[in-house]
Symmetry: C2
């Protein structure tokens, strides 16, 4: 492992330190969550000086292991008030690993309104005035950073949303084309970066050595097996590479789990118009890229580049959850409007799930008409104007609901639901309810066995087996997030009896260890325990694992309801 | 006791029912809190159909007992998410008692946007369309109701804030001049009434009999003693009747406990300009009423009527907490601007404490300049325009802070602090921290022994004795709120060894009971236990009894900090 880079954002000073014993061997989510538990007072204000914003590559980062380039960002969340880890692709993770940096830790906060940028390279660290970058969107920031510091530098930045400390604010990463298509989206971490007045972090690994592999032969063999596994699985080898994540639109809609018009039904009549198939058709006609990787070394390649009617670049990383949130949830059926909303979110630095759900709530509250894409674009644009309407929408679904007096708001722990209804995909519903993150599909993607037939089959409409499904997935996911692997590798791992052991072989070969799969699962449990403990200290109880009353409504087409009791759920994450 | 009047706001139906055994003998806060605990699911959405809004006169209501005309309003609070009781003067309480109504219970909610009014009189109940009252402010509503239903009818109504379901929304009561100068201010109960689409409730006791007194002679004797006690105490007999509650401005400022510029210091350099003495001077010059009662039968008479420079009516019920919130907290020194802000709050139906603190936070966040009364008036006016700025301010201090990214927000359980700094008035600080209501001075007014020398003396700057002080006051206050007595009677009760027994004598004579003072204190404890239990079921823990980080800052002029640990506080309300 490398060193910790601590930056005092008030003093504009930094220092490298050895990783303390208590953090040794931890990476990604394992490191961010442990550091937050140990170093951040659980009841502090998320925008105050006591909160810390931590970026940590996974333990496989920088190695040739396929799909190991996810970066974890962690802090006390301004959205949920609990602990948060949000990971993203992009270029930063692998570069930090090569620079020997186990984590960047942003501490304290300035008393002035001046923004800084942090430039990290092989020669050292600089903390510089952000100058005219302040007030700019992520597109302009990324372009400026690539121009100034070289193409292919890693960039983490915030747009106008993070500067305003909005609860929906993301931290965006330059994608492989230098655009802000990748995002640490969930939980408002961009607001923490904004409170600390850091506009951007640039990471340049020029001149840095490759990461050391203790047993290169063993690593190579394990990685080959790993790549084969990913390429041979129908989801990671075919579905996602063919159509990107939007392949799910028709699948989830067909399953009756595609939440439509603020979770009133599971089928959207215009699903076909916003499907992965439709996107591929547009890209064929207009140009763009149907699938591309979110970070070097990815073999799944589920990202994309989407052009407008004139054939000009419109947005990238145009994904299923985004399309659902602005589409079925807010009942917008024009794909180009949805793409523009995605672009605005990337530019302002906003989580597309939180923001899409918020726009649907704005429709529920009568602020704009249902399904009106142009009105949604106008309203979202107010975030860039620093206008009051933008401060409402940009603060997310619950805030928007509270502003407008709406009592049907799909949130757990104040975070908006993603694109699968918990009543007709109960495995992911258990995850929404129980993960310390707030409603989050990526914390335990029960869609696998519920709908995709991956890792077995568990009836999506019944309770039986879904607590166990979510539990197993949450433990495995925490470990995957600690390794820095993309969540989607889970598809192949679940359907392969050698899946987990192959990951463990890569870790062992990288560090000269002799871990077992059980050790890795224990790590997963310890991460969840740390996160639960932070939340407990922040005032959360089992009662916060409840879904809102609206999920007691009967949900067509399967006419199911959310019927887990808190008592049934209470053991999900007790280890 | 009377009957319960239950109104189904969706069906527009009503029914009278006998008071169930479990509620027998309870009035005011004792009844509202017990009913909410028993009938409202603790995790429901406060604006949803499962919440109930309950109005209950105290058990002495309608009797000749001095100062017994306070009405309790209760519900799950949209502001705090916990249980709420907020009581006010006005005309409704005594009229309900004479009509034999122990409580009005508003249930369910309509699915349409049409408002209704409820008219209650001796012949029965009508639920009528609100017609053109919808969208109007409380001044217009009250005027219209008095014109239509007769001068001196009791009126409960909401303004534009309640209609928008804002968390700062009050329910206002017609005062003795038919103006909305009285308010169930705290906790956003106006939003619950708005969600249930009830614009106003009119209560007319014409033709109703007097309330029965079981032992008239004993009652008369006890009440005479009671009146003498109130009239002979320096606070209730001299200070409050002379200058109204604003008499406290100079007193609390002198004590260094007058929170200034968002709780940065305990003395406001312009305190004299907004003092009770200054108000009395203005009233002498311009006309108005220096002191008048908030309900018939009050002998303290701490309310007032304030005119503008032209000698025309500007506002009434212009009180200490209001003057502090817009004044010292937001550093506005022009009394007429503060009076206009008070008037706007009464008209829109907004809690002046929550709204004043919110305006200070808007200044902290740079939305308007510090101390700019005109800018504050313009911003507050947006509530009446249903504009986005109004939805921010009208949702209170924490919401405004969250909208603007401000991390110095003085709230406990999401409710804004009143006008006494907890670092230099620690007895009231303990109350802010531990009352189930959220920061609320009226729940246990430790200012008594801390600053006013009433009920003994406890050092306001030290911890010693202040937990016990708050505990005793919280128990006594709960009982006073159940009786329907004005909180200010506590001054006389605390300094009189016959105080409590005199109240008990009136209750015994009214109902033919033989309660002891201990019974009444046990009632106080049971109310607090019910409220704590509701909050526990809603997800609150001891951690929610914490003051925000900002109170660890040293507070001039006494340079004290908030130094109670959660462990020390945890026993305050354990009985």
């Amino acid at each position: 492992m490398g060193k910790l880079l601590r930056v005092n954002t008030r003093e504009k000073t930094f220092g490298f330190e050895e990783v303390a014993e208590t953090y040794a061997g931890l990476g990604g989510r394992a490191l961010t969550s442990k550091m937050i538990l140990d170093e951040v007072p659980a009841t502090c204000h998320p925008l105050g000086k006591a909160n810390k914003l931590i970026f940590a590559p996974g333990i496989l980062a920088g190695s040739p292991a396929a799909d190991s380039g996810r970066l974890s960002a962690g802090a006390k969340s301004p959205l949920t008030g609990g602990i948060k880890e949000s990971n993203a692709g992009g270029l930063v993770s692998q570069k930090l690993a090569r620079l020997g940096i186990a984590a960047i830790v942003l501490e304290d906060k300035p008393e002035t309104d001046n923004y800084s940028i942090i430039v990290i390279n092989n020669d050292g660290v600089e903390i510089l005035p952000a100058g005219d970058l302040a007030g700019k969107g992520n597109y302009a920031v990324m372009e400026s950073m690539w121009e100034k510091y070289g193409k292919n530098v890693g960039v983490l930045s915030i747009g106008q949303a993070g500067e305003q400390c909005l609860k929906g604010a993301s931290i965006n990463q330059a994608d492989m084309n230098g655009r802000p298509g990748r995002a640490h989206g969930r939980g408002g971490l961009g607001a923490v970066m904004g409170a600390k007045k850091i506009k951007a972090i640039v990471v340049n690994d020029k001149g840095a050595p490759r990461v050391e592999i203790k047993d290169p032969d063993a690593f190579k063999a394990a990685n080959k097996k790993w790549v084969d596994m990913l390429k041979n699985h129908p989801v990671t080898g075919q579905g996602l590479p063919a159509l990107g994540t939007a392949v799910l639109v028709n699948v989830i809609n067909e399953a009756g789990a595609f939440p439509t018009k603020n979770f009133r039904s599971g089928r959207f009549e215009h699903a076909q118009d916003i499907s992965g198939e439709k996107i591929a058709e547009c890209i064929e006609q207009r140009g763009g890229i149907t699938t591309e990787p979110c970070h070097p070394g990815c073999v799944i390649k589920c990202s994309n580049v989407y052009h407008d009617k004139e054939g000009k670049y419109l947005t990238s990383g145009f994904e299923y959850e985004t399309i659902w949130a602005f589409g079925a949830h807010a009942t917008i059926k024009e794909l180009d409007d949805i793409a523009m909303l995605d672009r605005l979110c990337d530019d302002f630095g906003l989580d597309t799930i939180e923001t899409g759900v918020a726009l649907g709530i704005a429709m529920e509250g009568g602020m704009i008409p249902w399904g009106d894409g142009k009105a949604a674009i106008d309203l979202l644009s107010k975030v860039g104007d620093y206008a009051p309407e933008g401060k409402i929408i940009g603060n997310g679904a619950l805030f928007t609901g509270d502003a407008l007096g709406v009592d049907r708001v799909p949130v757990v722990k104040k975070q908006a639901f993603p694109a699968y209804d918990p009543r007709s995909c109960k495995g992911v519903g258990v995850t929404y309810a129980t993960t310390p993150m707030g409603a989050d599909h990526t914390a335990g993607y029960g869609v696998t066995a519920n709908i995709l037939g991956v890792g077995g089959t568990i009836d999506s409409l019944k309770k039986e087996g879904n607590i166990e499904l979510s539990q197993g997935l949450q433990v495995a996911t925490a470990a995957i997030d600690a390794a820095g692997l993309c969540l989607f590798v889970a598809f192949a791992v679940l359907d392969n009896e050698d899946g987990l052991s192959t990951i463990v072989s890569m870790i062992n070969a990288r560090f000269g260890l002799s871990l077992t799969p059980d050790d890795v699962l224990e790590l997963g449990k310890s991460i969840l325990n740390n996160e639960k403990e932070f939340n407990r200290k922040a005032g959360f109880t089992d009662i916060d694992d409840q879904l809102p009353e609206m999920f007691q409504e009967t949900f067509p087409p399967h006419n199911t309801t959310w019927d887990f009791t808190l008592e049934e759920l209470s053991g999900t994450l007790k280890f």
